[in-house]
Subunit: 239 residues, 2 copies
DNA sequence: CCAAAAGTGTTGCCCTTACACCCATGT
DNA sequence: ACATGGGTGTAAGGGCAACACTTTTGG
């Protein structure tokens, strides 16, 4: 095998979730192409780099933050996951961004598949300003319910990422990863309602969350609303 | 990139579960090496082959059966997942079995990592006689509680595979995949007790399973035991 | 008739859900 | 005072676990 800095036929892509304005959002790059086409933040993996470290690297590049909740959710390797059209687009990008990686074609100039490992990350929307890199025309948050036209099978990756988030958000109590340091129970409720796309009756939801005994009650939050001020909470320090 | 028949730095490995004699078993190959060392059934992926199809191919080679329950459970790509010693063993095997795949070393003759995708399969123990292939000294069932010395991070892959099986067996009602066509509720109970390594009180367990309404009651099973004969069941045809 | 194991029935507990009510806040 | 939304309390229902009991089988 020819020596390459990166693994040739393997990439990773990140579904970076944020929560804002009762909407579940994720970071997408608009690629610098004649056509309006978007992509998940991702990239090749360095030969001497653990895959999860590569995902952290991508995340840091795009969000500027570290110590983010991050988990793999599956591999995507259908032979036809890259359409001929997308393949042409991809080749031009890959050539500039990863000069060490030769275009994935065989000697007959047929495209070769690239397998991608999907990661999802949970970040505090307020703390993250999406950063564009080299070949992005822009990089920003997009509502998961209003996704633009995406390259490869990234649409499918997002769907699977959301599915896995739905499985794990409650089971693993990940909600704090998508919220600021302090938050109200209403915030948590709205997050749940957004992720699961169904209502959670407020009183019972509060009980459920408080009975977990993972939250610490802080001062009230006076917003100026003409209603009772809700308590702020934060995650109990794991001691 | 040099054209190869297989993807160079990506493999898949299968944890093929079977249930027999109240034990959870899986298929391992003993490799043809001076040392006693075992490996999960696996292999490289053909360029024009979907990854899941590659897993099915490996499964068919090893079990002779098709239409097996099969699911991905994670990727394994730590840079140090292959020890130096295992790397030497692997190179000699790979050279013979996959002549098109060059040994995973760079120009300085340093080993390069290979990433593996983990699949687990659920099969009927009675129907499967493990088949050895080219470089196996033998291929057989092994109790998951008494695993021999395994190559690479296959130990870790088995652990993760079991973890995922435990998550999904009940939630997805996969138990029939590990049992013969007809079985008693006691069989199901013992399967659960084995997979979760804890007792399930018989009466409540029966109720739980029957309440699912997925089983069809057949004749009784007369074994000659001096006790009441249990009913046999089979999965209701999904109509 | 007896022992062993299969299968059924009943009760109590906990968790979730639904409904009713009280409390703080700004106008 | 009152409208608004936050927060608490209570009762009903479903699911699960523990226990007691009946049924079938071969000796």
């Amino acid at each position: 095998m020819k020596s390459t800095k990166h693994i040739a036929q393997l990439t990773l892509d990140c579904v970076i979730f944020g929560f804002h304005d009762k909407k579940l959002k994720l970071i997408l790059s608009k690629l610098k192409l004649e056509k309006d086409i978007f992509a998940l933040p991702g990239g090749f993996i360095l030969q001497e780099e653990d895959i999860e470290d590569a995902a952290k690297r991508v995340l840091y590049e795009r969000t500027g933050i570290q110590d983010v909740y991050l988990e793999e959710f599956g591999t995507f390797g259908r032979t036809n996951r890259i359409s001929d059209e997308d393949f042409l687009l991809f080749s031009s990008i890959a050539r500039d961004l990863y000069p060490d990686v030769e275009p994935p074609v065989n000697e007959n100039n047929q495209k070769m598949r690239i397998v991608s490992i999907g990661y999802y990350a949970l970040v505090d929307f307020e703390k993250v300003i999406p950063q564009k890199i080299d070949l992005d025309e822009s990089c920003d948050w997009y509502d998961i319910k209003e996704l633009p036209n995406m390259i490869f099978d990234h649409q499918e990756m997002v769907a699977k990422g959301l599915e896995v988030l739905q499985e794990r958000l409650d089971k693993k109590l990940l909600f704090n990863n998508l919220l600021p340091e302090t938050f109200t129970l209403k915030d948590v409720q709205e997050l749940y309602e957004t992720v699961y796309d169904k209502p959670f009756p407020a009183n019972n939801f509060q009980k459920k969350i408080l009975d977990l005994n993972v939250l610490e009650r802080l001062d009230k939050k006076y917003t100026g609303a003409k209603s009772k001020a809700p308590y702020l909470y934060r995650l109990k320090s794991k001691s």
